[in-house]
């Protein structure tokens, strides 16, 4: 017989609580985004190699623009693809 203490999660407890997004560049004090580091930039693009929007990454406007520039430079140098499928 299950007591009341055993019944803990009838629904997902994380549903109501929104996790606050933050700009990782501001939080960790990253001032320069290196375009020669494709592994890092991979966090800001989706599977097709498109830039992820700010509402998903949580970047501030300033650093989102810089990420975009870095990704575009990396694409020019063939470090990242312009178009891709199943990148991740």
């Amino acid at each position: 017989m299950a007591s009341r203490d055993d019944i803990k999660f009838l629904s997902n407890p994380n549903i109501g609580s929104k996790k606050k997004k933050y700009c990782r560049f501001k939080k960790y004090g990253i001032k320069h985004i290196d375009y020669k580091d494709p592994d890092f930039l991979l966090q800001f693009i989706n599977e097709q190699g498109k830039l992820l929007p700010r509402r998903i990454t949580g970047n501030s406007l300033k650093y989102q623009k810089r990420v975009a520039i870095a990704v575009k430079r990396a694409r020019h140098l063939a470090l990242l693809p312009y178009v891709a499928d199943l990148l991740k």
Binding site: K19, K31, H32, Y35, K36, F40, R73, L77, A78
Partner: protein, 147 residues
């Protein structure tokens, strides 16, 4: 003084000596133009993300240099554009943060250590892993032999 960074991709079909001489010609060219070379980073053979000139790999070189003004950049770019051995190039002016970043990277302050940490942290937020009980490894018994 302004600091610039030029990254170029050399054709991998060339022999090792030719690749080195290609990189050397641009190093010499920069020096004759009065640039102070800060660092040359040979990033080595890398797989390209998409084929360029029907090649699927290339040898990356990254040269950082300081010059008084940028008037010689166009000269350098023209030479790079005319060179058949160069597949792609990119010249970038570095701001003070970029200069510091590259310095830190050379000194090993920014490295691969930072990245996997972040990735693991990202994974944790999605799927909380059960806490592992780390068993202390038995200390290796050191037997000292007396001779």
């Amino acid at each position: 003084m302004r600091q610039y960074e030029v990254t170029f991709i050399v054709d991998p079909v060339l022999s090792g000596d030719e690749i080195k001489s290609t990189a050397k010609t641009y190093e010499d060219m920069l020096k004759t133009e009065g640039a102070v070379i800060v660092n040359i980073n040979d990033m080595g053979l890398r797989q390209l993300a998409y084929p360029i000139n029907k090649r699927s790999s290339g040898i990356y070189f990254c040269t950082e240099f300081q010059v008084e003004n940028g008037s010689m950049i166009s000269k350098l770019e023209l030479a790079l554009r005319r060179d058949e051995r160069i597949m792609r190039f990119l010249t970038v002016k570095l701001d003070k943060y970029g200069v510091k970043y590259n310095e830190d990277k050379r000194n090993g302050l920014i490295g691969k250590v930072q990245k996997p940490e972040k990735k693991s942290a990202k994974k944790d937020s999605r799927k909380p892993e059960p806490k592992k009980v780390v068993k202390p490894a038995p200390a290796p018994v050191v037997v000292q032999k007396e001779e």
